[in-house]
């Protein structure tokens, strides 16, 4: 593995030169993470506190830079506080989706045959269900909390990863070095996790960024519909709660939407950049 780091680094640098999207995405994402950390560890203010009159217009400077919401809460504080739940829900959801997807895809691709048939039927079954509606039902089933929402999103978001992982395992398992390892007496577990997975990793890592964006957008949609956890200040929640008043005050809807947009864009750009770095075929570079 270490032997490969060098060409990766070179590719990274060349990718930064050819398309700066990865760097931009990474930087933007770091900013959002910093916001989340700041709100969690440094800023003790409760975003639910009513600090002023409702619907103060944004001034962009001064004590209430982004104005107040329908109750008179500081929108800037709400946005800062919204970063942490949004990111952590997305991270947990994406993690779960990746684990589920890779595990099922790997088993299906590696063993093939009956197991493959069974697992793919299972995957297809999940793909047929309209994911958002399914997630809405699941969230209603459990009482909404950041944990249940993250688990729900992870639970509905894994099928694309499973298909990708299956395809990769199917492709790699018959490559020469795998056959050689098998001939040398390596067990199935060793082959799957130590031999095939590292080689299947690049496209999976790229697809992980896609899963993260899906998770962020799903969390926002659920909160917007009022199915999220009402005691958690997430960006979707702010949009949903303020939507009724949007014709009087656009800012409590516009700013959290922008925050979601920029975060999703950052992750997409990161994914794009990673794709160029990890998969030399994807670009002429």
């Amino acid at each position: 593995m270490t032997g490969r780091a060098d060409p990766w680094l070179r590719r990274f640098l060349s990718a930064c030169r050819t398309g700066p999207s990865a760097v931009v995405g990474m930087a933007a994402l770091l900013v959002v993470c910093a916001m989340a950390l700041y709100s969690v560890f440094l800023d003790g203010r409760d975003p639910f506190d009513i600090v002023s009159l409702p619907h103060r217009a944004p001034t962009f400077v001064g004590p209430l830079p982004l104005g107040t919401d329908y109750l008179g809460r500081d929108l800037a504080v709400c946005l800062l506080a919204g970063a942490a739940p949004t990111l952590s829900v997305a991270a947990v959801a994406a993690g779960l989706a990746m684990v589920l997807g890779v595990a099922l895809g790997a088993l299906a691709g590696f063993f093939g045959g009956r197991l493959d048939d069974l697992l793919m039927r299972f995957t297809e079954f999940f793909q047929v269900l309209p994911a958002l509606l399914f997630a809405m039902v699941l969230v209603t089933l459990w009482s909404p909390s950041p944990t249940t929402i993250a688990l729900t999103i992870g639970f509905v978001a894994w099928p694309p990863t499973a298909r990708l992982a299956r395809a990769e395992f199917l492709r790699i398992r018959d490559l020469e070095y795998v056959v050689a390892a098998r001939a040398a007496g390596a067990g199935a577990g060793h082959l799957m996790w130590r031999v095939i997975l590292p080689n299947a990793a690049p496209p999976l890592i790229v697809s992980a960024t896609l899963v993260v964006t899906t998770a962020i957008l799903f969390e926002a949609a659920l909160s917007f519909l009022g199915l999220g956890d009402p005691d958690t200040m997430s960006w979707g929640q702010i949009i949903g709660a303020n939507r009724e008043y949007v014709l009087d005050a656009w800012w409590p809807v516009a700013f959290p939407g922008l925050a979601i947009f920029l975060t999703v864009l950052a992750v997409s750009l990161l994914g794009d950049g990673l794709n160029r770095i990890l998969d030399p075929k994807s670009d002429g570079a």
Binding site: E124, F125, P130, L133, V137, L138, I239, S268, L269
Partner: protein, 324 residues
Amino acid sequence: MTGYIARRLLHGLFLVAGVVVVNFVLLRLAPGDTATAIAGEMGGATADVLAAIRADYGLDRPLPTQLAIYLGHIARGDLGMSHYFNLPVSSLIAARLGPTVLLVASAQIVALVVGVALGVLAARARGGAVPTLVTAFTTACHAMPVFWTGIMLVVLFASILPVLPVEGMSDLRLRDAGWITRTLDVARHLVLPVVTLVLVHLAQYARITGAAMREVLAADFIRVVRAKGAPERTVLFRHALRNAALPVLTVAGLQFGHLLSGALLVETVFNWPGLGRLAFESLLRRDYPTVLGVLLCAAAMVVVVNLLTDLAYRLADPRLRTVP
């Protein structure tokens, strides 16, 4: 070919049946009692009224019995009665199916046309500002939460630019007007929801078309066509695009499920009288038979669209057509 279709149909039925069973179980395990929801609407009810409601709807029977009752009804094409409206779920769905199909189909077609056009534009330019701009635009659109885009359009068109209706599917005051007026009215109402959905789904089509076109344009046979002196338009549309159509088709099929999810949010934002809003509002009312019905219907739609995509794929790809 017939055998293939039959196999695919059977497979689809199997998937739909699975959807029925799993969702039934999930929904019946859910907290929030239908009887209380109904009673709440009544503004206070006594214990015996609650008990009567439970008995009426079979809510007091064991779960497997309820499932058996439900499956028996489904087999006869009966999706059950809505707890809330006490009307057949199938009639509720029938009333909402049209608007959703109209919305999703319009969005799918517009997204395909515009997305492919952008992809061709980007591929033809080969370097320079155009591909970058196309990518930037579509990527940005793709990153926007669909409901937020919708709300922002509502704000824009409600007060600043009041030229298009921002809610509903038709103006009830025009319901006695001629069919041309009514069609135009629906078309006007359709604009903003469709634009919202299209913006989000452009990126996939543009990206896939671009990539496929670049690959095809680099192929030898295009060089031959060009060498024969064919005009650029013929090269692009007659030769290159036709060969790039397959991956686009695949993506269109895969996108359909996402489009349905997006439509659910768009319907909520624009008050579009479709299945998504029916499902959402029914979920809030704990009207399980209706939610189940919509889920089943949506899954069936995805299965049908996948099947059609498969068939179209077979017809479009000469290599697959010869395979029995």
